[in-house]
Symmetry: C2
Subunit: 294 residues, 2 copies
């Protein structure tokens, strides 16, 4: 599993490198910031989910790889903007300076904007799929997963929660995280079905798998933030607690949170039954989620 994850990460890195060449004129600083934001690390969990899901339907890898890269651009944009002084004001990400620290605030705003914009261009390109209907569904799905009803909406709930710390209940955090991190993970799991023009049953199973997995992933993140070390996670730990943000660990305790994540992952695995042994690496992801250290 670790080998396959590393292998996928290397291929995604190469695809992003190819899709984001650095401009040779005065835009090079923006281009470098965009590349800095998405190259050089990360688990590439979302691309892995996308490629493995696409593999269930024998989607040609070059097509799935483009969507994986677009998804990673959107994930990268969200991290760059989240890290801004106006937002979380983070200095470290994956063990190195965040984009606004390595460049400057204006370039970071712009790099995020441009990554988001380019991601839609990658999806819309005929190289992603010969059928325009498939490409347009990928575009619409990404807009929904990243916009007011998805990631940006979740971020807004998070901002609102910061100004009323302590009031969040479990269902509120689930709703918040479902949008903030869950929507893009669900997209990662369903885009392969879209590319493979799979039937409704397969699509819905993967959506449900992604939903449970995404939530478990967030709980695992909270557990890491609670107990991990900065050296392990590559970013400062305990920051959520510092700012009075309610986490799953606060509400359920470490043991309760771990149990909840385990239950969700078991549920996630059930949705994979439909796909037999082809889904073995997706099953392996559900084990990896709770074992990871960063």
């Amino acid at each position: 599993m670790q080998d396959r994850l590393a292998h996928t990460a290397a291929r995604v890195e190469a695809e992003l490198d190819r899709l984001l060449p650095c401009p040779e004129d005065e835009r090079y600083r923006l281009g470098e910031a965009m590349r800095y934001a998405v190259l050089g690390g990360g688990k590439r969990l979302r691309p892995f989910l996308l490629l493995e899901s696409a593999g269930l339907f024998d989607v040609p890898e070059d097509r799935a790889m483009r969507v994986a890269a677009a998804l990673e651009m959107v994930h990268g944009y969200s991290l760059v903007h989240d890290d801004l002084p106006a937002m979380d004001d983070s200095e470290l990400r994956r063990g190195r300076a965040t984009v606004h620290r390595a460049f400057d605030d204006a370039t970071a705003v712009l790099a995020g904007d441009a990554l988001l914009t380019e991601a839609f261009g990658v999806l819309a390109d005929p190289a992603t799929h010969p059928d325009a209907e498939v490409r347009i569904k990928l575009v619409k799905g990404l807009s929904e997963a990243a916009g007011l009803h998805g990631m940006a909406g979740g971020q807004a709930l998070d901002l609102a929660a910061e100004s009323q710390a302590g009031d969040l209940m479990l269902k509120d955090i689930i709703a918040l995280q479902g949008r903030k991190t869950g929507a893009l993970i669900v997209y990662a799991c369903t885009a392969g079905a879209e590319l493979g023009q799979a039937g409704d049953e397969a699509y819905r199973a993967l959506a449900a798998f992604g939903d449970r997995l995404g939530l478990a992933f967030q709980i695992a993140d909270d557990l890491l933030d609670h107990s991990g070390s900065e050296a392990e996670t590559g970013k400062p730990v305990g920051r959520d607690a510092d700012r009075g943000k309610a986490t799953f660990v606060d509400l359920l305790g470490p043991a309760g949170a771990e149990e909840k994540a385990s239950d969700l992952l078991a549920e996630a695995r059930e949705y994979l039954d439909l796909f037999g042994p082809k889904a073995d690496f997706l099953r392996a992801v559900t084990v990896f989620v709770l074992e990871r250290k960063a």
Copy 2:
């Protein structure tokens, strides 16, 4: 012309109001910031160009109106992010507080992000055009006009120019503005041809029209910044000069800049010959550009 512009502006306002309902949960603050950013004013020049161009090909108005609204979301997003403290640090826009002043910096970052994201969703929706091929071209075109090769790239050139004030030559400013403001105006002029599935000749004529018009529009903006009053323009004037940004007026003088704009507008009008009297309101825009006071 003023009547028709005002009438179009009112209809675009209604469409944006319809497409951006305010969420009823804790995301309402983000929703309100998005609405604040795009509702309540502006000349709506880009939507006007789009609707008039679409009219050349008898495109149903509800379709053109959706693309016009998407375009205005992208224009709105760019203004919100440009106004941020990290960028131009502007307090006033269209005579009222900018989004980060009326709300806060984090909400402004997020509102821009969400507007950009939703714009692609509006284009991708089947209500925009029944043919997915047409919708995907609109998506790809918008990504190109707004991304690294278009608006965001132009903004990067602008940031680079600020740190090396005085070095810009006329060709540099033309290249910068062609990306920063021109690309979206060209998109406004060509999206109607895309919606109408017009031939190459018509598409290229409208692209050339938009290119010349966009540049003239920027020169007129520089002239207004040079000579207009804050009461007329709704934003602080003379700011470009304060920050040592080279403008067309610096390089050509007020009379030279006005002559250059006139020449470009005459050129723009020639590209409309193809369309006969149907293009009379697009012709009228070329007159309006130099007469406007805000």
